[in-house]
């Protein structure tokens, strides 16, 4: 076992354990120092990762279950960045948590550790263990505000549905092992290529169940049912981490399983009819997310439905089944990171302690805090795909991936464009509420006008997110190159 290969993961796990221990001796009013130390530690790890650079050469450990290639490094950097921002965001939120003010940082680290392993998973054992580490940590994080009924409800729902999804996935893995006699992605691919697979039908059934488990992680229709409730009930920083981290982990695993293990190609052997399956799934996901978001007034629930719709757009990159589509997935997720974290930062600051996140809390935001109004406007515009922000680049690349070689699915493109139009409606509802909202018009209560004072950590998160969205959108060359290099190792 080559320990230097997994030094990053060991670092994050150690950091988590250290924070957990330090939390025992930290008095409550000094807890934000813990968050600061965690963020600092993660930043150092990110710096080390970036310094090593996008390792193009592929390194695997002795058993072949762990791989470190361009794709893994890209997603590791993405997850670490998300982890840092979420930790900073949690610092401003920790006073709302009645228990676990210190443990929440450790749990964030453990979830992050699971994501880092997911980015490198090259066998089904590693895939399952990484997913379970992420999901079980999120069960706890979701129900962390245990004095709020909604938080508990979300936790229970996530636990039950997530456990069912895991069971389905593990059954799928068992069937795959039964027919392929190996759990390692490369060996499965070899077996498929050589035509050794005797029980191809059984293998396909296993693959189908496995993909169902992964679709649950990315909240794609018909496995989306948990997303709105969990997004609404979980504490805002947790929702942010769930929206980017857990979803991106699902996508990196999906990419690896499809391209490295199953070797699906447009003109390859007919396995599972991936193009048809994923195009139907993408279209259904976009339609469901967009329609449900249209009339939604709860801000977190609205973003929950919007995240379902955006999972549908990311699936477009997988429908394409080529390198360009995979690279588009990476670029989209990079832009999505900044937009989603920016939006949830604003929500976490604005939401009153015991009320719902109704759209009316946004009224007068441009007077109360210009920075937050600017950030939320940019974030929402980026999510809607307005140029020149990061979200536009991602959506454009995803659509181009489906259209360009040959418009195989005109109806899919039409659905995606309709979804974009619908998203303009519900995202601009948010912007309208910021600048022209009249607060709770049904109670005739005048909207708040008191200025909001932001903590330093919150300002840092907001500024980083704004810069990130603008940088990816205005100067896309580096991220495009990185993404293109990262997908080289997928075997497309």
């Amino acid at each position: 076992m080559n320990l230097s290969l997994i030094s990053l993961e060991i670092g994050v796990a150690l950091l988590g354990v250290l924070v957990l221990l330090a939390g025992l001796w930290t008095p409550p009013h000094r807890r934000s120092a813990l968050g600061f130390c965690t963020a600092l530690g993660l930043t150092v790890l990110l710096a080390l990762l970036v310094k090593q650079g996008m390792a193009i050469e592929t390194l695997t450990d002795s058993s072949g279950g762990f791989v470190r290639d361009g794709l893994a490094v890209f997603f590791k950097a993405l997850f670490l960045l998300a982890g840092i921002l979420v930790t900073l965001l949690t610092m401003g939120f920790a006073n709302r948590l009645r228990t676990g003010g210190a443990e929440v940082y450790a749990l964030n680290c453990f979830a992050l550790c699971g994501m880092l392993f997911a980015a490198s998973a090259n066998s089904f054992v590693m895939l399952f263990v990484a997913i379970e580490l992420i999901t079980i940590t999120f069960y706890v994080l979701t129900s962390l505000q245990s004095h709020r009924l909604r938080s508990l409800e979300a936790g229970i729902k996530y636990l039950i549905l997530g456990a069912a999804a895991s069971a389905v996935m593990v059954f799928g893995i068992a069937l795959i092992y039964g027919s392929a006699h190996t759990l390692q992605f490369n060996l499965i691919a070899d077996g498929l290529a050589a035509g050794h697979m005797k029980q191809l039908l059984l293998f396909q059934l296993g693959a189908l169940l496995l993909l169902a488990g992964l679709a649950f992680k990315i909240a794609a229709v018909p496995f989306q049912i948990w997303a709105p409730d969990v997004y609404q009930g979980a504490p805002a920083p947790v929702t942010a981490f769930l929206a980017i981290g857990s979803k991106a982990a699902g996508f990196v695993l999906l990419l690896r399983v499809l391209y490295t293990a199953f070797q699906v190609q447009p003109d390859g052997p007919r396995l599972l009819e991936p193009t048809a399956m994923f195009s139907v799934m993408a279209a259904a996901t976009i339609i469901f997310g967009s329609l449900c978001a249209l009339r939604q007034r709860n801000l977190k629930r609205l973003l929950g439905y919007a995240s379902i719709a955006s999972a549908g757009y990311v699936l477009l990159g997988i429908v394409a089944l080529n390198e360009r589509g995979a690279a588009a997935v990476l670029v989209y997720l990079a832009g999505y990171l900044f937009a989603v974290i920016a939006a949830f930062t604003v929500i976490s600051i604005l939401t009153p302690e015991d009320e719902d996140e109704d759209l009316s809390i946004l009224a007068n935001l441009h007077k109360r805090s210009p920075l937050m109004a600017l950030t939320l406007t940019l974030a929402v515009a980026s999510l809607a795909g307005i140029p020149p922000l990061a979200g536009f680049l991602g959506k454009f690349l995803l659509l181009r991936a489906v259209i360009e070689p040959a418009a195989t699915f005109p109806w899919l493109v039409a659905v995606a464009l309709l979804g974009v139009v619908a998203s303009l409606y519900y995202y601009f509802g948010i912007i309208r509420e910021i600048f022209w909202g009249t607060g709770q018009w049904w109670t005739e209560k005048a909207p708040e006008t008191a200025a909001i004072k932001l903590a330093d950590s919150q300002v840092v998160v907001l500024v980083v997110c704004v810069l990130g969205m603008l940088a990816v959108g205005l100067y896309p060359q580096p991220i495009l190159e990185i993404a293109n290099a990262a997908v080289q190792g997928l075997g497309l």
């Binding site: 706890v140 006699h181 005797k198 039908l201």
Partner: protein, 176 residues
């Protein structure tokens, strides 16, 4: 040995079905007891595969510890609600249809495929080879599982802790 496999798997399926769909009783305790039977039959299957360690663990951990926990929870919570609930006809129909569909897929797949070509190595399921595998090839996932258990433990303590006492305790300790 073949007939033993069929007996055990039929019993597993039957008991498993009785856990969730028992026409004679809606008592959760009965369901839990059928779960014990399911697990015992499954450990029989493991024995047939010469995976003695797994068979023993199955009995010790699942039939022993986990089910006892289930029973504790059921009896402590005193769940009567479930017993009174009638079967919903529409739900039962949908569920039966889904199960029948899945069963059809499974049966067609299993019958259309030949038995595995490779036979298991004779001692693959014994404790020593299992341990060797766990500490060589699968050492990384094995260690990640330990992290997972840590998270589960921290989570349990966090969620079951009463919220308000924590901070005051800390302040008291400081003043002392």
């Amino acid at each position: 040995m073949d007939f033993l496999f069929y007996i055990f798997s039929a019993l597993t399926l039957l008991c498993g079905a009785l856990v969730v769909f028992n026409p004679f009783s809606r008592n959760p305790v009965t369901s839990a007891m059928f779960l014990v039977l399911t697990i015992i039959c499954m450990s029989g299957l493991f024995v047939l595969l010469k995976a003695f360690f797994l068979a023993a663990v199955q009995i010790l951990v699942y039939a022993g510890a986990v089910i006892v926990l289930f029973l504790f929870v059921i009896m402590l919570l005193n769940i009567k609600e479930e017993e009174r609930q009638r079967f919903r006809k529409f739900g039962t129909f949908l569920g039966a249809a889904a199960v029948a569909g899945l069963a059809w897929i499974l049966v067609t797949t299993v019958t259309s495929s030949r038995a595995g070509e490779r036979s298991l190595a004779n001692n693959a399921g014994e404790t020593k080879p299992l341990g060797e595998l766990l500490f060589t090839n699968y050492v990384l996932p094995f260690e990640i599982v330990s992290l997972l258990l840590l998270v589960a433990m921290v989570g349990c303590i966090l969620l079951s802790k009463t919220p308000d006492t924590e901070d005051t305790n800390d302040i008291e300790e400081e003043t002392e």
